[in-house]
């Protein structure tokens, strides 16, 4: 609704025949004729009668865009344990260095994931961790409404991230979301290597 009025004039055409600043009587006439001001007034009056674009947030919520990147979650595998193997690729890729992973050696020299923590106050929600993970063990939900009074509330530990998985990817909707946007790589390992994000032509 704006483009009709705010369209930039073609700079090439306008620049060549730019008007001289009027002087003397012509200047006075232009000042008092108020042509420009009246045009401005009519524009604001037109907008006075067009509906406003405001969304009244807490009462009027917008559905997040398909594939929106919100709060993180750690994927549970079939045994109920985190699918993460502690390879630290996500932490290495993270531009804001907000993923902290601590592992230890198990009895048979396997890697044990002791802690997997995301400081969401530092996170820029770029989604690189999701793309980096070879096992699709970390995903992002479309949940964005989380607030709190302390920094600790935004520091997500392994248990809280697994809890996020249950909460935001538990139901049918969550499963659908996961399949469409964050399909875990481990399902793709047998197939040809594809991107974890299937976006184009997929979301309608």
């Amino acid at each position: 609704m704006f483009d009709a009025n705010l369209k930039e004039p073609d700079p090439g055409a306008e620049g060549s025949r730019r008007r001289e600043e009027p002087t003397g009587l012509a200047k006075l006439l232009r000042l008092v004729s108020l042509g420009e001001i009246l045009r401005g007034l009519s524009l604001t009056m037109k907008h006075f009668f067009t509906p406003s674009v405001t969304r009244q947030y807490p009462t009027e919520k917008r559905e997040p865009f398909a594939g929106a990147r919100g709060l993180h979650a750690l994927v549970r595998d079939a045994t109920g344990e985190p699918a993460c193997v502690g390879c630290c690729l996500c932490a290495a890729m993270c531009p804001s260095e907000c993923i902290h992973i601590y592992t230890s050696d198990g009895e048979n020299h396997e890697k044990i994931l002791d802690r997997y923590e995301i400081d969401t106050l530092r996170c820029v929600f770029c989604g690189f961790c999701v793309e980096a993970c070879p096992y699709g063990a970390v995903v992002m939900s479309d949940h964005y409404e989380y607030s709190g009074y302390t920094r600790e509330e935004f520091y997500y530990t392994k248990d809280r991230l697994l809890d996020n998985w249950d909460r935001y990817f538990g139901g049918e909707k969550g499963q659908d979301y996961l399949d469409r946007f964050w399909r875990p790589r481990r399902e793709d390992i047998g197939e040809a290597r594809r991107s974890a994000m299937k976006v184009e032509g997929d979301d309608e």
Partner: protein
């Protein structure tokens, strides 16, 4: 004057000031709503239905705010400045003829009285900026001094035409002289100059250089908080009401309305308020449309356009009157 008469007068004064204070509170709400809708926003919506209780909440907030006084301020002047501004604006209401019979004071120099008090209001602004001992406040008050002096002349001159036509400076007489034809028709130049000068006198956009937020923090009331700050606010919005009332009285025919069909049944005071609020809406409309003038543009406009225009208007009116 008997006791009953004085009691009635006090009652009337209290009523008018109460109504004006409510007007000030809701003019702020009205302004926020109008400007918001002109910018495709909604404005205050959360306090009460459609934000209707917002002015009350604001008032309560201002009342309980801490009263900060800069340690280097000139205390006595700092205290008196907002009172002067609010007083000048409220005292102007005394002579505004709301209807044929209702005005707090019937004096025959009503026009001069309002002009004098509107100049007096500028003292509050200048002293407030001076006594704050802050550079932004000081710059704001300097600008205000220059602006008010420049535009006062244009404003006075634009009203001379009206005085010539009505043959009186009594506001009620001026309105009665317009029972046939409002003075906006013969005095359209005067009306235009008056309207612009009134915007400059009340420090409204696009002539709000004394408080220019983008350059001077808040201009002359930068250092004021809480209730003293709100007194400046009262001064500004009541001043806007007085200026609109003066324009209504001098150019738009005051309490007169169209004299036919159901329009004849509308009480005069409603006509008066309708015209005043239409002008106040115009103020908001201008505010939503125009950016602030540069300082030299403001001065140039005042001295080189409005004053000559007003002088020409006086000359033409005088000639036509003499013929």
């Amino acid at each position: 004057m008997t006791l009953v008469e004085s009691a009635t007068l006090v009652g009337i004064i209290v009523a008018v000031i109460t109504v004006t204070m409510l007007h000030v509170a809701y003019a702020v709400y009205f302004e926020r709503k109008v400007v918001a809708h002109m910018q495709a926003r909604l404005g205050p919506m959360r306090v009460g239905p459609h934000g209707l209780l917002q002015p009350i909440a604001d008032g309560v907030k201002l009342f309980f705010k801490e009263d900060l006084i800069p340690s280097t301020a000139d205390k006595s002047i700092y205290f008196i400045a907002p009172v002067i501004t609010a007083f000048a604006a409220l005292a102007s209401l005394a002579v505004v003829p709301f209807t044929d019979s209702f005005a707090i004071a019937h004096i025959n120099i009503g026009l001069l009285y309002i002009l004098a008090l509107s100049s007096l209001g500028a003292y509050g602004v200048i002293l407030g900026g001076w006594s704050s001992n802050s550079k932004y406040a000081f710059l704001g008050s300097l600008r205000s001094a220059a602006q008010v002096i420049s535009y006062e002349i244009a404003m006075g001159l634009s009203l001379i035409g009206v005085v010539l036509l009505a043959g009186s400076t009594d506001l009620a007489t001026i309105v009665r002289a317009q029972s046939e034809l409002p003075f906006i028709v013969p005095q359209f130049i005067g009306f235009f100059v008056f309207l612009m000068a009134a915007i400059a006198e009340t420090n409204r956009l696009p002539f709000d250089l004394p408080e220019a937020e983008t350059e001077l923090v808040a201009g002359y009331f930068t250092e004021y908080t809480g209730f003293r700050f709100s007194l400046f606010f009262v001064g500004e919005y009541a001043g806007m009401f007085v200026m609109s009332a003066l324009a209504t009285v001098c150019f738009l025919g005051g309490w007169h309305g169209p004299d036919f069909w159901i329009f004849a049944m509308v009480p005069p005071v409603v006509w008066f308020m309708l015209k005043v609020y239409a002008l106040i809406f115009f103020y908001f409309w201008i505010r939503a449309t125009l950016p602030r003038y540069r300082y030299d543009q403001l001065m140039g406009l005042g001295w080189k356009v409005f004053i000559p225009l007003a002088l020409v208007n006086v000359a033409i009116t005088g000639l036509l009157k003499a013929l």
